[in-house]
């Protein structure tokens, strides 16, 4: 029997989940610490170790509580910075928008994620995480065996021993003896992305419509999975789905540096609207390379090393459910080749232009979500308050358009902006951490409209001097409005 064509529908964003893996010992494996340690050795290692946070500290850190949905971002305006000096008493590791896991749990998942049998655990460490390894076949070796593996190219990952000493918890073996793309450090990076993405997807699947099949996964992380003949070949999305235990979806990856997730949300919305799929989940895992990226600044001002978490995310895009915020595809925008790269060009193209097509002004948007990097991480390294700078640019555009006066710019920033609360995990801070809060505000709260604007640094890959960006507009569901449901 011939099937009727599926109706074109309105896509909505139903939910988003974030998972943080607190992995202090992997800070040394981040790109910057790794290079600096090779030059400066044990003195720097000792200094770094003295500045690592405990799991409890990472959970009690106010920006993390915002990310997992236990607190609203605006709360951070009330807290004097630096925020690590304001730990939240009895803060839970689980929230409505996600959770924080500790390093032992992460290592157990690393072993679970290893389909190629390249992870070998220390035989004294494996029992410590035995509960997380149930049903998993894991290789173990003694310390001497692991040391031999490291000298042959394996990548170690560490833990604190019961006596407080640092020791090798396990290693990742190289995937091929001659393949640069399968070197052990590359595989550890990719496994870390796979694990964190999968944990976020599991959380989403368990909490949001667990019996409704996922049709498609769109990966949007910054990892490059592949071998020497297809470096960055990709489709980590399917590997993430497999590890998360979802069986029904296919998948593919979208690559656009930090702007990947917002590009992926536009594509997910289009797939739903066109009737190709009924449920698409945008996923992304964390960036091991970015751990400890700004450690120099943190050591200088005697902060703890704040880049000690990997972040994963999963965002649920479905057809109109009559409640969730609508993804306005007629206001989705991408930065085009002919658009300029200066701040006012970017925000003019990505924020102002799509609003104008709908007859809206910047002031008609309740909140803008921009690059939401935590300023406590970026300022000690001299990178400034990234969201603050971006909101000032938006306010300047509003002033230039005659919506506000120049004197009203700070008030515009406070009313329509947000404090940065995201770890500097590349694509993760790019607007999307506000999604759980926006969904709440557009359903149970009083908000009408939120715009998400992401930027991507294409120039870093040396293939172009261009920047990139993408934006989406979420609006309170029209059916929900008609029902007169307000808080």
């Amino acid at each position: 029997m011939i099937q009727e064509r599926r109706a074109i529908g309105v896509p909505v964003i139903r939910a988003a989940r974030f998972v943080l893996a607190h992995v202090p010992d992997l800070v040394m494996s981040g790109s910057k610490p790794r290079r600096e340690l090779a030059r400066q050795g044990e003195v720097l290692r000792t200094q770094l170790r003295a500045h690592l946070r405990s799991f409890r500290d990472a959970v009690a850190y106010p920006p993390h509580q915002v990310l997992i949905g236990n607190q609203v971002p605006e709360l951070l305006y009330e807290f004097p910075r630096p925020w690590h000096m304001r730990p939240m008493d009895n803060a839970p590791a689980v929230g409505a928008a996600g959770m924080i896991i500790d390093q032992d749990s992460f290592y157990a998942w690393l072993a679970r994620a290893d389909t190629a049998n390249l992870i070998v655990l220390d035989d004294a460490y494996a029992p410590r995480i035995a509960a997380g390894l149930e049903g998993v076949r894991v290789s173990t070796r003694d310390a001497a065996g692991l040391a031999r593996a490291v000298s042959a190219g394996a990548e170690p990952f560490h833990c604190d021993g019961h006596d407080g000493d640092v020791r090798v918890a396990g290693v990742v073996l190289p995937g091929h003896e001659e393949d640069e793309s399968l070197r052990a450090p590359v595989l550890l990076e990719n496994l870390a992305a796979k694990v964190t993405g999968a944990l976020a997807l599991r959380r989403l699947r368990d909490e949001v419509a667990p019996h409704e099949p996922v049709d498609f996964l769109l990966g949007s992380g910054e990892e490059a999975v592949g071998d020497r003949y297809q470096r960055g070949g990709g489709n980590l999305a399917k590997a993430i789905g497999e590890l998360a235990g979802v069986r029904t979806p296919g998948g593919a990856d979208v690559k656009a540096f930090c702007a990947g997730p917002v590009h992926a949300l536009i594509l997910a919305g289009a797939l739903i609207a066109a009737g190709v799929h009924r449920r698409v989940v945008v996923v992304g895992g964390g960036s091991l390379a970015k751990l400890g990226m700004k450690f120099r600044g943190h050591l200088t001002v005697d902060y703890p090393i704040l880049e000690d978490v990997l972040a994963g995310m999963a965002i649920d895009v479905v057809a109109d459910d009559g409640r969730s915020p609508e993804l306005r595809l007629d206001a989705a925008m991408v930065h085009r080749i002919e658009d300029g790269g200066a701040g006012h060009h970017m925000y003019g193209a990505l924020a102002q232009a799509p609003l104008r097509t709908l007859g809206l002004r910047l002031s008609d948007v309740d909140r803008f979500a921009v690059e939401l990097h935590n300023p406590d991480i970026t300022e000690p390294a001299g990178s400034g308050d990234v969201p603050g700078n971006n909101y000032t640019m938006l306010a300047a555009l509003a002033a230039r358009a005659g919506e506000i006066t120049r004197e009203q710019m700070p008030a515009f920033v406070r009313a329509h902006g947000l404090p940065g609360f995201s770890p500097t995990q590349g694509h993760i801070p790019s607007a999307i951490p506000y999604l759980p809060h926006a969904i709440l505000g557009l359903t149970e709260g009083t908000m009408t409209r939120v715009q998400f604007i992401a930027k991507g640094s294409l120039f870093l890959g040396r293939m172009t001097g261009m920047s990139d960006g993408a934006s989406i507009l979420l609006e309170r569901n029209a059916q929900f409005l008609r029902k007169g449901v307000t808080s």
Binding site: G340, G341, A342, G343, E371, H373, T378, A381, G382, S383, G384, V386, N389, N390, T424, P429, K455, S457, F459, L460, G465, S467
Partner: protein, 43 residues
């Protein structure tokens, strides 16, 4: 105010501030010769 006419300029831009191409355009319009332009992402 610096007179950039006929000066050689290294334009080091930042993504969330002023990017390299914007610095380059300003310098060229002021009569300078840009011998290197790059943009970094410090976030």
């Amino acid at each position: 105010m610096i007179d950039l006419k006929d000066k050689l300029v290294l334009a080091l831009g930042e993504r969330d501030g002023v990017p390299g191409p914007a610095l380059e355009a300003c310098a060229v319009s002021a009569g300078a010769k840009v011998i290197y332009s790059a943009t970094q992402c410090f976030a």
